[in-house]
Symmetry: C2
Subunit: 468 residues, 2 copies
Amino acid sequence: MSEIRIDTPADAAAEPSHDQDDRLTPEFVRAVIDHVERGEADAARALVAPLHPADIAVLFELAPSESRRPLAAALADLLGGDVLAEMNDWVREELMEALAPHEVAEIATQLDTDDAVAIIEDMGEDEQRAVLRAMEPDDRAAIEEALSYPEESAGRLMQRDLIAVPEHWAVGDVLDYLRRNEDLTTDFWEIFVVDAGHHPVGTCKLSWILRTPRNIAVSDVMQREQTLIPVDMDQEEVALRFQKYGLISAAVVDPNGRLVGMITVDDIVHIIQEEAGEDILRLSGAGDGDINEPVLDSYRSRVRWLIANLGTALVASTIIGLFEGTIARMVALATLMPIVAGVGGNAGTQTMAVTVRAIATNKLTQANTVRSIMREIRIALLNGSTIAAVIGSGVALVFGNGALGAVIAAAMMTNILVAGLAGVLVPVTLDRMDVDPAVSSSVFVTMVTDSMGFLAFLGLATLAGLAG
Amino acid sequence: MSEIRIDTPADAAAEPSHDQDDRLTPEFVRAVIDHVERGEADAARALVAPLHPADIAVLFELAPSESRRPLAAALADLLGGDVLAEMNDWVREELMEALAPHEVAEIATQLDTDDAVAIIEDMGEDEQRAVLRAMEPDDRAAIEEALSYPEESAGRLMQRDLIAVPEHWAVGDVLDYLRRNEDLTTDFWEIFVVDAGHHPVGTCKLSWILRTPRNIAVSDVMQREQTLIPVDMDQEEVALRFQKYGLISAAVVDPNGRLVGMITVDDIVHIIQEEAGEDILRLSGAGDGDINEPVLDSYRSRVRWLIANLGTALVASTIIGLFEGTIARMVALATLMPIVAGVGGNAGTQTMAVTVRAIATNKLTQANTVRSIMREIRIALLNGSTIAAVIGSGVALVFGNGALGAVIAAAMMTNILVAGLAGVLVPVTLDRMDVDPAVSSSVFVTMVTDSMGFLAFLGLATLAGLAG
């Protein structure tokens, strides 16, 4: 099994650039960097030139941080906007800091508005202003307008180059218009039909235009039912619409319903990947960081959650403290108590992950919340019985103490049930409060399962007079 | 902020069907089910008819399990293949079980091969054979061929309806061919140019065809550099290619390099969402389940991980057992030890999530593994120092015991460092062994951080003679 990419001949050189998973090989990356370090810029360029822009971006990501600027200097003419648009945010920022404003401006003008905005939006205000000043007035206006929309909104994602035609045109008029106007974009998959006020009234797939005789009116072939994206819609919502309705492109409209831009699915594919990935990272308390995030940024976002976690651990610790007398009389309880808390925590995490995903994909709504809670209770009863039976009988046998076995079984059952409830209720409640459930569910769920694990086990042990 | 969908007039009825997040309202779902329960099928159909197929699919997902079959009976004529293709796998299976093979066959023949396969592939073998027997020979052959490829491979995802033209054609020939052959698909965004042996030699965006004069050869406008997808490639790899190269559609080739199908981005959008979501669920030990999975299936996949977790908790418990004498002499150690294990576990989960995502998106390769490990060590040193300082000084003050503070600080530092290492090394090692790191990293990382937390804290306390 191997992927075939038809590239320029240099790709067939001795050193294969890709492994069978389409990743750049470490040997290839090393070879390029070695050339750069030895000052052999031409040799480095010869290796890199055949690569797809997306792979050139990956090359920079894979290169050690200290090699990136020399690499950029050696490959300057290959480092176009298409490469930068594909590059990891952190790596790109690092490179952009080394460039003069007019160089950034030059790169930005080669790009679609959405890609140019992606490059410029992360810069400091002063640098941003310097770059904008260095641009042509038209480009600058387009980018300034995009920057006026909130971050991660449709307005930042959309491109302004699109094909819009009046509804009274025939298919032939569209064909002539497209053929005669050479400076129109070629980056479109559908054309938008608008009324006199520039409100979209329908969409035509290009395949329909191609298959329809010239004299038919576009209003007869267009699809009237369309998904319009308000310019201030959050990108995650936009991605959900694209997915739900299987869209290739969609018209973006201003608050007056006028067509102001277009979003295409290739931009959305990145968003879906990012947003789903963000949920894992947030759920794990790792912020939004990826492996290219600067160490200090990662530290700042992660240490906050570790401190929050320290807080919840202190709550659990305080609960254990209430039972010091019991533990002093029966040290085995200290040995066993982390099992109840740990397995409960795991059960809570399972439910929480399922719930957070369901909320993120709009599958868990008010219409089925109660049903989901009932479902988790039933799963928790099954899981709880199984685990309680295993650990209860095991402890009873190993410690030769049936009462201790019964106590740990009951505590485990209780904690898994509580974990199941917390795993649904915490994210659902956060979502109702308009807090992203992926961000802070873990802390609350862990606090509940830790505290309840120790409380149930040590409390039942005390009540049962085990440490009499 | 509200999305505008131009739907048929019934959508403007008293009861709004969608909330501002484009989710069906609980009131709407309730209203439809009430009509069905009261036997008012016409009223139910009137409410549902204006909905997009994707929303009809959601309606079934949101309806309680016991209402789904009556709902299907009432809405039979609205329950087309496009609705079923959008529906959650579990919900669809439930409905399909109620249908006769010839009904399933009839639905499947309305669909593109890829959607038909998605519906049929989950059925039992006997039912599958019965459905295939009820289909037209052509449709049956296409589906049987698709089913001959591995599950989740490109062969199952691809559709066979595509536009392929010989390389000697001019643009005008393509236009005539498309206009004259009415039974060609309209579901395409690019056309493929093939040589005499049906090997793809290039791709043409429709926008190029539209903008090029009739007499130009397609071989002059086509893009020769293209990403070809081998028919047995895993769908996750396919999704990565689409994302990396910004593809709208791609040619699928057999082992001889002949064009056998086409994959379009709208199918890939679902895969990306699914695969990224799967990683969260797997990392949390929740299997592949979503909120529609039957309770017994969820139980089976989750209980396995709880039992594995029980195993790792027993290891940790055994380590605590080694120090029973120390704990008996100083019960405060039992109170504090879960803090060291818990915060360490959290730090390990952070690193693990970042690493698993980086592996899944091909961003962590042999070229930057060492660098990633060094990066995590530096973050762990920062996190460890901060948390150790906070907990160490806190414990020293509260317990009035500087030695105890120093011991918990040293143990915390050690465990966070070990957690950072395990968080990278476990998933990277699993990946090298061709095991999905999302599936089993958690168990190993938790075992390491739990065991090391107790060992470091209780061991150092014993060495320091704290409980003397």
